[in-house]
Protein backbone atom coordinates (compact mmCIF):
# COMPACT_ATOMS: atom_id res chain seq x y z
CA UNK A 1 0.00 0.00 0.00
CA UNK A 2 1.33 3.47 -0.87
CA UNK A 3 1.33 6.08 1.85
CA UNK A 4 0.70 3.49 4.53
CA UNK A 5 2.16 5.82 7.11
CA UNK A 6 -0.42 8.46 6.40
CA UNK A 7 -3.50 6.36 5.67
CA UNK A 8 -3.49 4.19 8.78
CA UNK A 9 -3.05 6.99 11.34
CA UNK A 10 -5.60 8.98 9.31
CA UNK A 11 -8.10 6.16 9.59
CA UNK A 12 -7.49 5.78 13.29
CA UNK A 13 -8.03 9.50 13.83
CA UNK A 14 -11.17 9.45 11.68
CA UNK A 15 -12.72 6.50 13.53
CA UNK A 16 -11.72 8.10 16.80
CA UNK A 17 -13.55 11.32 15.95
CA UNK A 18 -16.67 9.53 14.67
CA UNK A 19 -16.86 7.25 17.69
CA UNK A 20 -16.03 9.99 20.18
CA UNK A 21 -19.62 10.57 21.34
CA UNK A 22 -20.02 6.88 22.18
CA UNK A 23 -16.85 6.76 24.25
CA UNK A 24 -17.65 10.09 25.85
CA UNK A 25 -21.06 8.90 27.00
CA UNK A 26 -19.63 5.58 28.11
CA UNK A 27 -17.39 7.39 30.53
CA UNK A 28 -19.53 10.31 31.62
CA UNK A 29 -23.16 9.09 31.45
CA UNK A 30 -24.30 8.33 34.97
CA UNK A 31 -27.84 9.69 34.67
CA UNK A 32 -30.48 7.24 35.80
CA UNK A 33 -34.15 8.08 35.35
CA UNK A 34 -35.17 6.98 38.88
CA UNK A 35 -38.94 7.31 38.86
CA UNK A 36 -40.19 8.82 42.08
CA UNK A 37 -42.44 6.93 44.48
CA UNK A 38 -43.10 9.97 46.60
CA UNK A 39 -46.88 10.31 46.40
CA UNK A 40 -49.40 10.67 49.22
CA UNK A 41 -50.99 7.26 48.60
CA UNK A 42 -47.70 5.36 48.39
CA UNK A 43 -46.32 7.13 51.45
CA UNK A 44 -49.32 5.97 53.43
CA UNK A 45 -48.89 2.31 52.48
CA UNK A 46 -47.50 0.18 55.26
CA UNK A 47 -46.18 -2.41 52.83
CA UNK A 48 -45.15 -0.82 49.59
CA UNK A 49 -46.21 -3.07 46.75
CA UNK A 50 -47.62 -2.98 43.26
CA UNK A 51 -50.01 -5.42 41.61
CA UNK A 52 -46.96 -7.45 40.59
CA UNK A 53 -43.38 -7.48 41.94
CA UNK A 54 -41.33 -4.36 41.27
CA UNK A 55 -38.79 -5.95 38.96
CA UNK A 56 -41.50 -7.54 36.88
CA UNK A 57 -43.35 -4.25 36.58
CA UNK A 58 -40.17 -2.45 35.60
CA UNK A 59 -39.77 -4.51 32.45
CA UNK A 60 -43.26 -5.80 31.76
CA UNK A 61 -45.70 -3.05 32.77
CA UNK A 62 -46.57 -2.32 29.16
CA UNK A 63 -47.55 -5.94 28.61
CA UNK A 64 -49.67 -5.90 31.75
CA UNK A 65 -51.41 -2.79 30.48
CA UNK A 66 -52.00 -4.35 27.08
CA UNK A 67 -53.48 -7.46 28.66
CA UNK A 68 -55.71 -5.35 30.84
CA UNK A 69 -56.77 -3.27 27.89
CA UNK A 70 -57.78 -6.24 25.79
CA UNK A 71 -59.60 -8.11 28.53
CA UNK A 72 -61.50 -5.02 29.66
CA UNK A 73 -62.39 -3.67 26.25
CA UNK A 74 -63.11 -6.94 24.51
CA UNK A 75 -64.44 -9.16 27.31
CA UNK A 76 -65.58 -6.75 29.98
CA UNK A 77 -63.40 -8.40 32.61
CA UNK A 78 -62.69 -5.42 34.78
CA UNK A 79 -61.57 -7.01 38.01
CA UNK A 80 -57.92 -7.85 38.40
CA UNK A 81 -58.16 -9.63 41.70
CA UNK A 82 -57.58 -9.21 45.39
CA UNK A 83 -54.10 -8.71 46.79
CA UNK A 84 -53.78 -8.54 50.57
CA UNK A 85 -57.43 -7.75 50.95
CA UNK A 86 -57.39 -4.91 48.44
CA UNK A 87 -59.49 -5.29 45.33
CA UNK A 88 -57.87 -4.06 42.14
CA UNK A 89 -59.63 -2.96 38.99
CA UNK A 90 -57.91 -3.29 35.63
CA UNK A 91 -57.62 0.39 34.95
CA UNK A 92 -54.78 2.74 34.19
CA UNK A 93 -56.71 5.76 35.34
CA UNK A 94 -58.45 4.23 38.33
CA UNK A 95 -55.80 1.81 39.57
CA UNK A 96 -52.26 2.70 38.46
CA UNK A 97 -52.65 6.43 38.72
CA UNK A 98 -54.33 6.25 42.13
CA UNK A 99 -50.94 5.43 43.66
CA UNK A 100 -48.70 6.87 40.98
CA UNK A 101 -50.41 10.21 40.92
CA UNK A 102 -47.14 11.82 39.86
CA UNK A 103 -47.09 11.11 36.14
CA UNK A 104 -44.36 13.67 35.54
CA UNK A 105 -41.98 12.19 38.07
CA UNK A 106 -42.95 8.57 37.53
CA UNK A 107 -44.04 7.63 34.01
CA UNK A 108 -42.37 10.47 32.19
CA UNK A 109 -38.93 10.08 33.77
CA UNK A 110 -38.17 6.76 32.10
CA UNK A 111 -40.23 7.41 29.02
CA UNK A 112 -38.34 10.61 28.34
CA UNK A 113 -35.03 8.94 29.10
CA UNK A 114 -35.56 6.14 26.57
CA UNK A 115 -37.50 8.45 24.25
CA UNK A 116 -40.68 6.44 23.99
CA UNK A 117 -43.97 8.20 23.55
CA UNK A 118 -46.79 5.93 24.69
CA UNK A 119 -50.15 7.20 23.46
CA UNK A 120 -51.97 6.45 26.73
CA UNK A 121 -52.43 10.09 27.60
CA UNK A 122 -53.96 11.09 24.31
CA UNK A 123 -57.20 9.72 25.68
CA UNK A 124 -56.74 8.67 29.28
CA UNK A 125 -56.70 11.43 31.76
CA UNK A 126 -53.68 11.96 33.93
CA UNK A 127 -54.25 12.77 37.58
CA UNK A 128 -55.37 16.30 38.33
CA UNK A 129 -52.85 19.04 37.73
CA UNK A 130 -50.09 16.77 36.51
CA UNK A 131 -51.05 16.57 32.88
CA UNK A 132 -48.33 16.59 30.22
Amino acid sequence: MYDKNKIIPGLIIFVGIVAFPFFYNLVTADYKPEPSLDTPVINKMSKKQCVRPKDFMKTEHMKVLHEWRDSVVRYGEREYGVIDGVKYEKSLQKTCMQCHSNKKDFCDRCHTYVDVKPYCWNCHIAPEGKEE
Partner: protein
Protein backbone atom coordinates in the same frame (compact mmCIF):
# COMPACT_ATOMS: atom_id res chain seq x y z
CA UNK B 1 -44.32 -40.96 6.93
CA UNK B 2 -46.83 -43.75 6.73
CA UNK B 3 -50.52 -43.20 6.33
CA UNK B 4 -51.33 -43.89 9.94
CA UNK B 5 -48.92 -41.23 11.30
CA UNK B 6 -50.12 -38.73 8.72
CA UNK B 7 -53.73 -39.20 9.78
CA UNK B 8 -52.81 -38.95 13.46
CA UNK B 9 -50.95 -35.68 12.96
CA UNK B 10 -53.74 -34.38 10.73
CA UNK B 11 -56.38 -35.17 13.33
CA UNK B 12 -54.26 -33.44 15.97
CA UNK B 13 -53.95 -30.27 13.89
CA UNK B 14 -57.69 -30.18 13.15
CA UNK B 15 -58.55 -30.69 16.81
CA UNK B 16 -56.20 -27.90 17.93
CA UNK B 17 -57.66 -25.48 15.37
CA UNK B 18 -61.17 -26.33 16.47
CA UNK B 19 -60.23 -25.48 20.06
CA UNK B 20 -59.42 -21.88 19.06
CA UNK B 21 -62.71 -20.31 20.12
CA UNK B 22 -62.76 -22.33 23.32
CA UNK B 23 -61.25 -19.69 25.66
CA UNK B 24 -64.05 -17.30 24.71
CA UNK B 25 -66.69 -19.84 25.55
CA UNK B 26 -64.97 -20.76 28.78
CA UNK B 27 -64.73 -17.14 29.88
CA UNK B 28 -68.51 -17.19 30.25
CA UNK B 29 -68.56 -20.40 32.24
CA UNK B 30 -65.94 -19.33 34.73
CA UNK B 31 -66.89 -18.48 38.26
CA UNK B 32 -66.14 -14.80 37.75
CA UNK B 33 -68.92 -14.21 35.30
CA UNK B 34 -68.97 -10.71 33.89
CA UNK B 35 -71.75 -8.54 32.62
CA UNK B 36 -70.23 -8.97 29.15
CA UNK B 37 -71.16 -12.63 29.17
CA UNK B 38 -73.17 -14.03 26.27
CA UNK B 39 -76.15 -14.85 28.44
CA UNK B 40 -76.97 -11.14 28.50
CA UNK B 41 -78.28 -9.24 25.52
CA UNK B 42 -78.72 -5.60 26.27
CA UNK B 43 -81.44 -3.64 24.58
CA UNK B 44 -83.39 -0.43 24.92
CA UNK B 45 -87.01 0.55 24.51
CA UNK B 46 -87.84 4.22 24.01
CA UNK B 47 -91.38 5.41 24.55
CA UNK B 48 -91.50 8.23 22.05
CA UNK B 49 -94.70 9.74 23.41
CA UNK B 50 -92.99 10.50 26.73
CA UNK B 51 -90.25 12.49 25.05
CA UNK B 52 -91.04 16.19 25.22
CA UNK B 53 -89.99 18.89 22.83
CA UNK B 54 -87.20 21.20 23.92
CA UNK B 55 -85.76 18.77 26.44
CA UNK B 56 -82.11 17.80 25.95
CA UNK B 57 -81.45 16.10 29.28
CA UNK B 58 -80.39 12.77 27.73
CA UNK B 59 -78.00 14.45 25.32
CA UNK B 60 -76.43 16.50 28.07
CA UNK B 61 -76.12 13.51 30.40
CA UNK B 62 -74.43 11.51 27.66
CA UNK B 63 -71.99 14.27 26.88
CA UNK B 64 -71.16 14.66 30.54
CA UNK B 65 -70.68 10.94 31.15
CA UNK B 66 -68.63 10.12 28.10
CA UNK B 67 -66.60 13.25 27.36
CA UNK B 68 -68.13 13.33 23.89
CA UNK B 69 -66.11 15.52 21.55
CA UNK B 70 -67.49 18.92 20.63
CA UNK B 71 -69.83 18.80 17.67
CA UNK B 72 -70.29 15.03 17.90
CA UNK B 73 -73.27 13.22 19.29
CA UNK B 74 -73.68 9.76 20.73
CA UNK B 75 -77.38 10.41 21.21
CA UNK B 76 -79.22 13.08 19.30
CA UNK B 77 -82.78 14.23 18.97
CA UNK B 78 -84.53 14.24 15.64
CA UNK B 79 -87.97 15.75 15.19
CA UNK B 80 -90.66 14.02 13.23
CA UNK B 81 -93.74 15.84 12.02
CA UNK B 82 -96.50 13.96 10.26
CA UNK B 83 -97.63 15.61 7.03
CA UNK B 84 -101.16 16.31 8.18
CA UNK B 85 -102.68 19.67 9.15
CA UNK B 86 -102.08 20.78 12.75
CA UNK B 87 -99.88 17.80 13.46
CA UNK B 88 -97.74 18.05 16.57
CA UNK B 89 -94.03 17.60 16.03
CA UNK B 90 -92.47 14.84 18.08
CA UNK B 91 -88.82 14.55 19.07
CA UNK B 92 -87.25 11.09 19.00
CA UNK B 93 -83.89 10.20 20.50
CA UNK B 94 -81.58 8.47 18.05
CA UNK B 95 -78.51 6.54 19.09
CA UNK B 96 -76.44 3.61 17.95
CA UNK B 97 -78.93 0.76 17.57
CA UNK B 98 -76.39 -1.79 18.82
CA UNK B 99 -77.26 -4.01 15.88
CA UNK B 100 -77.10 -7.74 16.42
CA UNK B 101 -75.68 -8.13 12.94
CA UNK B 102 -73.70 -4.88 12.79
CA UNK B 103 -72.55 -3.69 9.41
CA UNK B 104 -69.93 -1.48 11.01
CA UNK B 105 -68.19 -4.52 12.48
CA UNK B 106 -68.23 -6.33 9.17
CA UNK B 107 -66.43 -3.56 7.33
CA UNK B 108 -63.88 -2.59 9.96
CA UNK B 109 -60.51 -3.38 8.44
CA UNK B 110 -58.57 -3.63 11.65
CA UNK B 111 -61.20 -5.22 13.87
CA UNK B 112 -61.44 -2.06 15.94
CA UNK B 113 -65.21 -2.23 15.78
CA UNK B 114 -66.41 -5.43 17.36
CA UNK B 115 -69.43 -6.93 19.06
CA UNK B 116 -68.97 -7.97 22.64
CA UNK B 117 -70.48 -11.28 23.68
CA UNK B 118 -73.40 -9.48 25.30
CA UNK B 119 -74.19 -7.83 21.98
CA UNK B 120 -72.83 -4.36 22.66
CA UNK B 121 -71.04 -2.97 19.62
CA UNK B 122 -67.88 -1.17 20.65
CA UNK B 123 -64.97 0.61 19.06
CA UNK B 124 -61.54 -0.24 20.40
CA UNK B 125 -60.19 3.27 20.08
CA UNK B 126 -56.67 1.94 20.51
CA UNK B 127 -57.00 0.19 17.19
CA UNK B 128 -59.20 2.48 15.12
CA UNK B 129 -57.28 3.94 12.19
CA UNK B 130 -59.97 6.44 11.30
CA UNK B 131 -60.74 5.07 7.86
CA UNK B 132 -64.43 5.85 8.40
CA UNK B 133 -65.75 2.88 6.44
CA UNK B 134 -68.01 2.16 9.38
CA UNK B 135 -69.50 5.63 9.17
CA UNK B 136 -70.37 5.10 5.53
CA UNK B 137 -71.97 1.73 6.15
CA UNK B 138 -73.92 2.44 9.34
CA UNK B 139 -77.57 2.70 8.29
CA UNK B 140 -78.42 4.86 11.29
CA UNK B 141 -75.65 7.44 10.97
CA UNK B 142 -74.74 6.71 14.56
CA UNK B 143 -71.03 7.31 14.26
CA UNK B 144 -69.00 10.48 14.23
CA UNK B 145 -65.40 11.17 13.43
CA UNK B 146 -63.24 12.99 15.95
CA UNK B 147 -61.87 15.85 13.91
CA UNK B 148 -60.17 17.64 16.71
CA UNK B 149 -58.49 16.56 19.87
CA UNK B 150 -60.97 17.32 22.57
CA UNK B 151 -59.60 18.80 25.76
CA UNK B 152 -62.65 19.52 27.84
CA UNK B 153 -63.20 16.81 30.41
CA UNK B 154 -66.52 16.49 32.12
CA UNK B 155 -66.06 13.03 33.59
CA UNK B 156 -62.51 12.42 34.79
CA UNK B 157 -63.22 8.69 35.25
CA UNK B 158 -63.87 8.15 31.61
CA UNK B 159 -61.36 8.65 28.78
CA UNK B 160 -61.57 11.25 26.07
CA UNK B 161 -60.85 10.47 22.43
CA UNK B 162 -57.95 11.56 20.32
CA UNK B 163 -58.09 13.16 16.94
CA UNK B 164 -58.51 10.67 14.10
CA UNK B 165 -60.79 7.98 15.54
CA UNK B 166 -64.47 7.30 15.23
CA UNK B 167 -66.78 7.46 18.23
CA UNK B 168 -70.34 6.38 18.93
CA UNK B 169 -72.73 5.34 21.68
CA UNK B 170 -71.49 2.34 23.65
CA UNK B 171 -74.61 1.95 25.83
CA UNK B 172 -72.38 3.34 28.62
CA UNK B 173 -70.58 0.05 28.77
CA UNK B 174 -68.53 0.91 31.85
CA UNK B 175 -71.72 1.70 33.74
CA UNK B 176 -73.40 -1.51 32.58
CA UNK B 177 -70.42 -3.53 33.79
CA UNK B 178 -70.90 -1.93 37.19
CA UNK B 179 -74.60 -2.78 37.15
CA UNK B 180 -75.76 0.77 36.47
CA UNK B 181 -78.10 2.06 33.78
CA UNK B 182 -76.82 4.06 30.81
CA UNK B 183 -76.53 7.76 31.65
CA UNK B 184 -79.34 8.85 29.31
CA UNK B 185 -81.77 6.27 30.71
CA UNK B 186 -81.02 7.35 34.23
CA UNK B 187 -81.24 11.05 33.44
CA UNK B 188 -84.51 11.16 31.50
CA UNK B 189 -86.99 12.96 33.78
CA UNK B 190 -89.98 11.40 32.00
CA UNK B 191 -88.64 7.85 32.08
CA UNK B 192 -89.03 7.63 28.33
CA UNK B 193 -86.26 5.04 28.00
CA UNK B 194 -85.98 1.64 29.52
CA UNK B 195 -82.93 -0.50 29.34
CA UNK B 196 -82.27 -4.10 30.22
CA UNK B 197 -81.58 -7.65 29.27
CA UNK B 198 -83.61 -8.81 26.27
CA UNK B 199 -82.72 -12.41 27.09
CA UNK B 200 -84.37 -12.21 30.49
CA UNK B 201 -88.15 -12.59 29.95
CA UNK B 202 -88.83 -10.82 33.26
CA UNK B 203 -86.96 -7.65 32.38
CA UNK B 204 -88.91 -4.52 31.56
CA UNK B 205 -87.52 -4.29 28.04
CA UNK B 206 -88.28 -7.91 27.21
CA UNK B 207 -91.84 -7.46 28.42
CA UNK B 208 -92.28 -4.30 26.34
CA UNK B 209 -90.87 -6.00 23.27
CA UNK B 210 -93.11 -9.02 23.87
CA UNK B 211 -96.20 -6.82 23.63
CA UNK B 212 -95.42 -6.58 19.94
CA UNK B 213 -95.99 -2.82 19.95
CA UNK B 214 -92.33 -1.91 20.01
CA UNK B 215 -90.98 -1.09 16.58
CA UNK B 216 -87.45 -0.81 15.34
CA UNK B 217 -86.21 1.67 12.79
CA UNK B 218 -85.73 0.12 9.38
CA UNK B 219 -85.37 -3.53 10.47
CA UNK B 220 -85.73 -4.37 6.78
CA UNK B 221 -82.13 -3.33 6.28
CA UNK B 222 -81.17 -6.49 8.09
CA UNK B 223 -78.79 -5.28 10.76
CA UNK B 224 -81.12 -6.48 13.55
CA UNK B 225 -81.15 -3.34 15.70
CA UNK B 226 -81.69 -3.72 19.46
CA UNK B 227 -83.18 -0.29 20.14
CA UNK B 228 -86.97 -0.39 20.06
CA UNK B 229 -89.43 2.48 19.87
CA UNK B 230 -92.97 2.60 21.26
CA UNK B 231 -95.55 4.79 19.59
CA UNK B 232 -93.47 5.60 16.56
Amino acid sequence: MDRRTFLKIGAGVVATTAMGPLPQLVSCLQAKETKACAKNKWGMVIDVAKCVEGCTVCMDACRKENNVSAGNYWIRLATIKPKVPNAKSQPIPLLCNQCDDPFCVKVCLVKASFKRQDGIVLIDEHRCIGCRYCMIVCPYKSRSFVFKHYEEITNPDSPKRQHGVVEKCDFCVSRIDKGLMPACVEACPNKAMSFGNLNDPNSEVAKLVATGKAQRIRPDLGSKPKVYYLGL
